[in-house]
Symmetry: C2
Subunit: 767 residues, 2 copies
Amino acid sequence: MATLQDITVSAFINILIAFAFLLAFALLRIQPINDRVYFSKWYITGSRTSPRRSGNFVGKFVNLNLRTYLTFLNWMPQAMRISEAEIIDHAGLDSAAFLRIYVLGLKIFVPITVIALLVLLPVNLSNGMLSFLKRDLVTSDIDKLSISNVRPKSLRFFVHIGLEYLFTIWTCFMLYKEYDYIASMRLKFLASQSRRAEQFTVVVQNVPRPPGKSISDAVDQFFRTNHPDHYLCHQAVYNANKFAKLSKKRDRLQNWLDYYQLKFERNPNKRPTTKKGFWGLWGERVDSIEHYKQQIKDLEKTMALERQTIIKDPKSVLPVAFVSFDSRWGAAVCAQTQQSRNPTKWLTCWAPEPRDVYWKNLSIPFISLTIRRLVISLLVFALVFFYMIPIAFVQSLANLDGLVRVAPFLRPVIETEFVKSFLQGYLPGLALKIFLLVLPAILMFMSKMEGYISLSMLERRTAAKYYFFMLVNVFLGSIVTGTAFEQLHAFLHQAPTQIPRTIGVSIPMKATFFITYIMVDGWAGIASEILRLKPLIIFHLKNMFLVKTQRDRELAMNPPRVDFPETIPSLQLYFLLGLVYAVVTPILLPFIVVFFAFAYLVYRHQVINVYNQRYESGAAFWPHVHSRIIASLLISQLLLFGLLSTKKAANSTPFLIALPILTLSFHKYCKHRFEPAFWKFPLEEAMAKDIADHTAEPDLNLRAYLADAYLHPIFRSFEVDEEEELVEVRVNKHQTHVPGPTSTSGNVCYYDPEHPQHYTYQREAEP
Amino acid sequence: MATLQDITVSAFINILIAFAFLLAFALLRIQPINDRVYFSKWYITGSRTSPRRSGNFVGKFVNLNLRTYLTFLNWMPQAMRISEAEIIDHAGLDSAAFLRIYVLGLKIFVPITVIALLVLLPVNLSNGMLSFLKRDLVTSDIDKLSISNVRPKSLRFFVHIGLEYLFTIWTCFMLYKEYDYIASMRLKFLASQSRRAEQFTVVVQNVPRPPGKSISDAVDQFFRTNHPDHYLCHQAVYNANKFAKLSKKRDRLQNWLDYYQLKFERNPNKRPTTKKGFWGLWGERVDSIEHYKQQIKDLEKTMALERQTIIKDPKSVLPVAFVSFDSRWGAAVCAQTQQSRNPTKWLTCWAPEPRDVYWKNLSIPFISLTIRRLVISLLVFALVFFYMIPIAFVQSLANLDGLVRVAPFLRPVIETEFVKSFLQGYLPGLALKIFLLVLPAILMFMSKMEGYISLSMLERRTAAKYYFFMLVNVFLGSIVTGTAFEQLHAFLHQAPTQIPRTIGVSIPMKATFFITYIMVDGWAGIASEILRLKPLIIFHLKNMFLVKTQRDRELAMNPPRVDFPETIPSLQLYFLLGLVYAVVTPILLPFIVVFFAFAYLVYRHQVINVYNQRYESGAAFWPHVHSRIIASLLISQLLLFGLLSTKKAANSTPFLIALPILTLSFHKYCKHRFEPAFWKFPLEEAMAKDIADHTAEPDLNLRAYLADAYLHPIFRSFEVDEEEELVEVRVNKHQTHVPGPTSTSGNVCYYDPEHPQHYTYQREAEP
């Protein structure tokens, strides 16, 4: 057990590290050479160009303006100056909602901290139980401030229970207000958005392969029959994996060509040459520009062939389509209803926005999805419960006596007061953090296997797995010794009422561990977040060795983004810690409040200056955030129940039973009340938006607008002169189209028999 | 523990009772006087009229045709002669699907019985473990045929596990086929149905009270805006509780008037008189006919006033409406989509058919629903776990030694071999059955409190509660001794892996109890079902004392129906017993097969001749049937797991782990595959039906057809001469209607400013 002194050492180290990071950040960010790393968002929006273009040579790399050094902390007020509406404008709703999680943390924990410290510290301190037991039980000074210090059977437990009620009500109240706010923010955001393709589009999966006609025709006929008044057109999805590979190769060659052309421009006397063989290391020496031009030409021929194959072969059309409607109302109706008798066919749901689509998963059949999800859930379970073994080993190092016994030669080093404190206070948290770095990639891979079709959904699923992992391995794993598998085994052989007791009783003892964890992961971690050391180094390495053309430089700083699947679950762990320790060891709370405040500042700065989200889901992750905080509440209630029952507080414990029931029904109510806003689009809104749109632009050619919104991104890599061929891909779906019976409802029939090849792309040419 | 002899006695008694019932039924059903009881369905459909009208006086009451007595069992082939399609025509899909549960039982259990008996009996018998232990453990002969007879650690357990796999796969296969069949039957039924009001109608709840205008107007405006192309009209719902009371009183008075008029007709010399006071016991003597005529007149005045109040007072319009569309497609879209930003307002769902509506629950606000359901679920939990106490007391009687100790004077009676067998074999089952009779009414009341709006839904919810009750109290309660509350307490303090062990180990010992239960509840119970003793007695009592007019006679045999909330859960208990005992004590299986076969015959007869369902839900209960059989499978697997682990069959038990996981994923797949067919209406179907309809009757006045479909039933009690006033109620919703902006989509505006009072009812008068 760590003592107060260990904590102080750890706090000192962490604050030092955090300050070092902040200082380094302050110095590095004003150097022009790092500009792309610390202001990448502005480069992407285009409102900032390289400062290196101006000034003298040294000034291109180092900031010579000494005045700016004096105000090195001014990023903080700068970050706060921008309003929320501006953030939504600048970075999207996802980022704004993400920042609100930190605000929510502050709103929940600042009052809780004040009350807990004011009320509970005197209650716990004045009942000196631990001082009697000190010889038996090894407890740290922090335990004097915790619930462990209260005598068994004491009536003082009523204070703890009362506060648990108060904190639960307060948390629920804040959660309700926040959910309400976010839901209305989302609807407002969706309503205020200008016209976007996904508002009119539905993705339909599991299209049955029709006998004797193409999938495109089947889709066309199906929606023409069942949505006669609103169906507009659809975009087939091609299996273009091979084409994507060729396209990538072409990009690489083009880049080399650019590079040699640039080289030739700078030095027109000497035409660059290159070797034909493997990686340019051997073989015949040829003129580089000519060589690459020829290679590109060859490749383009292959690509043209491949494109023809894709277009001609009906098997390359996947049983999926993006179906567009002439109004938001029509799309909302189609997305929310069941289309076919067989509910595993013609599955419709809102199309994700084009850049959010995960193309590879679009065509997984329904039965395969069922099996995949079963298998992956078993795998996740296994991963969570067996991953712990190596972590437990490292954590056992923190048990110094064990370490000395294993490696007696280390004794003189370890015995040093400072090293000892470091090992005990710092190492366990650090070990954990390093292990956790490998994980998200595995979890993301698993989520992809599960077959979700949008990146945002993939990230949410990954976040869910990651949270489950953190809960079992970081939280429970740290509280109860032994591997997760051992715990699982033990729990299966214990009574259900015994489990919260087993965990509850060790909770107060682990407070010091979690305090150091908060400082390492929260304080120092966030400071390193703003420094962006890894991207900085990678950027400069790339700049030095790989960047050949301006295009490369643009790509070198590949757009960074908030890593939701990792950040949000880690963040939610703090909610869990705060809620669990609020009545048990309130001294932990200030550390959490500091974390939330500091992290809020840092992420606000990052969202404004650095991050650029790949997609916009409209805060679709909020229901998960909400339900996991509810889960934290339930866990805290259960563990307090277990803890109190070991304290023989029989006369007060039963009062806790109502709490989880009330919390659960609050959750259920919120789910019904707010969640539909996140996956349905109310017809009232859709209609209002449609009418407004119609009044504003009565004769908009929506079909032209939607024509290529959901084209597979690789088809976009064509250059302008290939537009002609591109059109072919776009309109391919109608090549075999047989005009159906004329619609009685009088909606415009969009088949133009005179120009069967070109009509969807004739934006300007024809009315 | 009962021995084989006890079972034989019990079987003898029960078969005797069953035969007595059948014989009584055969004799009673051919007496004309009972005709209305045994052929009530035919009276309701109108294809049978009272046979008493013809023949001589005695022949009116007693069947004198001796020939018919000779063929008294011919109801069985008669019942089988009718095909399923005819049953659907005659009694509806609900009844047909109900009968298929019994067929499913036979399909599942006949092969299982054959295999289990052939394979397991030799395996169990030849390993005589119990013969060694007989002195220690009191076991009956039946245990020799059960799994208890296999030595611990025996390799023979692999046979049991293999069969458990086989039976699970077989059951799942049959379940899948059946679900598929029922789902397609349901869709076919819905598609083949002629035009019905509920196909075009959606019920909208939680209409927000609009400021400054009536609810009717708000509904009208909302749907006119958001469903401009398909909205047709709506029917407001009135709070008519007081009016319903008055209407009932009027019916009673009318009946008395009829009675006296009839009396006067028969005996024209003497005008009947009556006393004015309380119940006609004292007070001034007046002319009866005049008196009742006057009373009715007075009452009608009050009713007219009340009607005016209902119509005039905007507060009597509830925030609920039945909204009708001009096509099934429009209704399907509205029912499946979210209407408003606030997902707790403007909630839409399919309207139940008019006779299925439970009017009282229509206007419960959303937040109240959340609270009601929470409270009721707690109450159900309490009911289930505390109701057991009295049952346990009666069951302790079966412990004869205890009884003799309490009441030693009973010893000579109890010691008689026959009485002893009766008490041990018969009483426990009977006691249970009697207790269960009180329950459904309580559970139905609870379901009503939960606020579901259709009778079919109420019955399904009641069935779910009843099943939960049966599962805990009949099944678990009989296996583990002690009250359910004691069990709950014990289970909470046991390891989760210990629970199936505790239960599993006592399962084989309880086989004899369940065999007697099947005979009492299943065999004799079903025989008494066909005899319909209670309705028969009540009918004759009513006929003797209460029936005054022909109308009374019609009402005396109030239409009986299959009591789904009670019958289906009881039936499912047999599935549970069969699946649990299939590998444990296979000798129980033939009893279950006999039950299913016999019950199938009886209910087929009853459905054809007696029962008349109040509503038609289109087999909406099937998903519950399916999922409860899946639950039974899971329970059987868990208990076998527990049982085997006490048998130290460590090398074979782990093979069982995969089974529940596979069963659960099968269930999940079925849920996705079939369940939407039961609560969604696919647009493809709706559109096809719409088009067919439109072709058949291109100029149907749908509005006239739908005008009063969802009128509150009490408004239907008006006589023909009040039609004028009725129209007023019907069209009231438009009295304050202000013509809105003309619809741009050009749909027919149905507001007729020249005849604002009458237009919805002018079926013939105006085009």
